[in-house]
C-alpha cells in the first residue's frame, strides 16, 4: 500500500475557508438506550474493573439510579445503531461524518481530544438523543506539516425527561 499524499498547505487553507463559510445544519439522532452489556464491555475494553461500572448494587449504593457508564462511554461510541454498510464507510474505514466527510473528503483524520461536561451521570436504561453541530475549522502548522483542526459540538439529552446529560466539544486533526 502506498503512503497517502498530504494535501498542500494551500489546498488545506482553501478547504478550511470553505468549511468556515459553508452552512452546516446540525444533525439530530435518536441514539436509543444505554445498554448495560455495552457499558460493561466498554469498561472491560479499557481495562477498568471498578465495581461501580459492573455491579448495579454498587452503583445504587453510590447514589446512581442504575449501573454507571464509564465517563467516556457516551462520547466514544461512533455509531449507536447498526451503522452504515461497510461499503458506505470511507476508504479508511471511518464514518462519512456529515461535516468531516463532506467538507474534507479523502483526507486523513485523527481524534484530537474532547471536553466533556456531565450535567447528569449517564446510567444504564437512559434513552439518549444526540445533536451534532459544526463549530469551527482552523488551519494549523505543526511539527509534521500543516493540518486543519476541526471542532464539533455534541450534546446528549435524555429522551424521557428532555434534560441535558452531556455536553461535549470534540476536535479532529484533518490532514
Amino acid at each position: 500500500m502506498s503512503r497517502l499524499a498530504n494535501p498542500s498547505p494551500h489546498q488545506l487553507e482553501e478547504l478550511v475557508r470553505k468549511a468556515k463559510g459553508a452552512s452546516h445544519p446540525p444533525v439530530d439522532e435518536v441514539l436509543g438506550e444505554i445498554v448495560s452489556t455495552n457499558t460493561r464491555r466498554f469498561a472491560v475494553a479499557i481495562g477498568d474493573n471498578n465495581p461501580i461500572f459492573h455491579q448495579v448494587a454498587v452503583a445504587r449504593t453510590a447514589g446512581y439510579a442504575d449501573l454507571l457508564a464509564p465517563p467516556t462511554f457516551v462520547t466514544s461510541v461512533v455509531s449507536w445503531q447498526a451503522g452504515p454498510e461497510s461499503q458506505e464507510l470511507r476508504a479508511d474505514g471511518a464514518m462519512a461524518d456529515p461535516f468531516l466527510g463532506a467538507v474534507f473528503p479523502g483526507l486523513r483524520l485523527m481524534g484530537a481530544g474532547q471536553s466533556i461536561r456531565f450535567i447528569e451521570s449517564p446510567v444504564a436504561g437512559m434513552q439518549l438523543r444526540r445533536r451534532t453541530a459544526f463549530l469551527d475549522a482552523t488551519l494549523k502548522h505543526g511539527r509534521s506539516g500543516s493540518f486543519a483542526l476541526v471542532a464539533v459540538q455534541r450534546t446528549f439529552d435524555d429522551e424521557r425527561t428532555g434534560q441535558r446529560v452531556i455536553d461535549c466539544r470534540e476536535e479532529y486533526i484533518v490532514r
Binding site: M1, S2, R3, L4, N38, R41, F42, V44, A45, I46, G47, D48, N50, I52, V58, T61, A62, G63, P70, P71, T72, T75, S76, V77, V78, S79, W80, G83, S86, L89, D92, G93, A94, M95, R108, L109, M110, G111, A112, G113, Q114, S115, I116, R117, F118, S121, S144, E171
Partner: protein
C-alpha cells in the same frame, strides 16, 4: 488546596492489539488506523495507533479509580499531543491542582511516553473533597 502537598496518582498502560481491537468493536469504530497495520503505515505511522478516545478513557479511569464512590466527576477534557502506538508504555498521571470554582476541585492529567514525551494532557473537575477522602480506593 495546595497542589504541591497533595497526593498524586499514577498508572501505566500498555495498550495491546487485542485492547485496540476490543475498543474499536465496542465503540463500533471501523477506522483502519487502529487495527490495520498496513493501512496505518500507509498513513505514515510506524504501527497502528491508539484511539484518542482510549487515551481519554485512561484519564477517566485514573480519576474515577482515585475518587471515593460518592464523589461526582463534573468535567473531563483532554488534548492529544502526539500519537501513541500499540504496545507503547503510557504513563498516566493525575495530581490535584488549586481549587476550582466553589465546591469543586481540579485534577491535572497527563500521559507521557517512557521517554517523557507528552502524549496527551487533560483536566478533570470533581466535587471538592476533603484531604481524608483523597485516597486511591484500590
Amino acid at each position: 488546596m495546595n497542589a504541591e502537598t497533595e497526593p498524586a496518582h499514577e498508572r501505566i498502560e500498555r495498550p495491546s492489539m487485542v485492547q485496540l481491537f476490543r475498543f474499536s468493536a465496542v465503540t463500533w469504530n471501523a477506522h483502519r488506523v487502529h487495527f490495520d497495520r498496513d493501512h496505518a503505515r500507509a498513513e505514515g505511522y510506524p504501527d497502528v495507533i491508539v484511539h484518542s478516545h482510549l487515551l481519554g478513557s485512561f484519564m477517566g479511569r485514573l480519576v474515577t479509580d482515585w475518587l471515593p464512590e460518592r464523589s461526582r466527576l463534573r468535567e473531563l477534557s483532554w488534548r492529544n499531543r502526539r500519537p501513541a502506538i500499540v504496545g507503547d508504555e503510557i504513563i498516566c498521571r493525575a495530581r490535584f491542582s488549586d481549587s476550582g470554582t466553589a465546591g469543586q476541585s481540579r485534577i491535572v492529567l497527563e500521559e507521557v511516553s517512557r521517554n517523557g514525551e507528552l502524549i496527551a494532557e487533560g483536566l478533570a473537575i470533581v466535587d471538592q473533597l476533603s484531604i481524608r477522602e483523597r485516597n486511591p480506593k484500590r
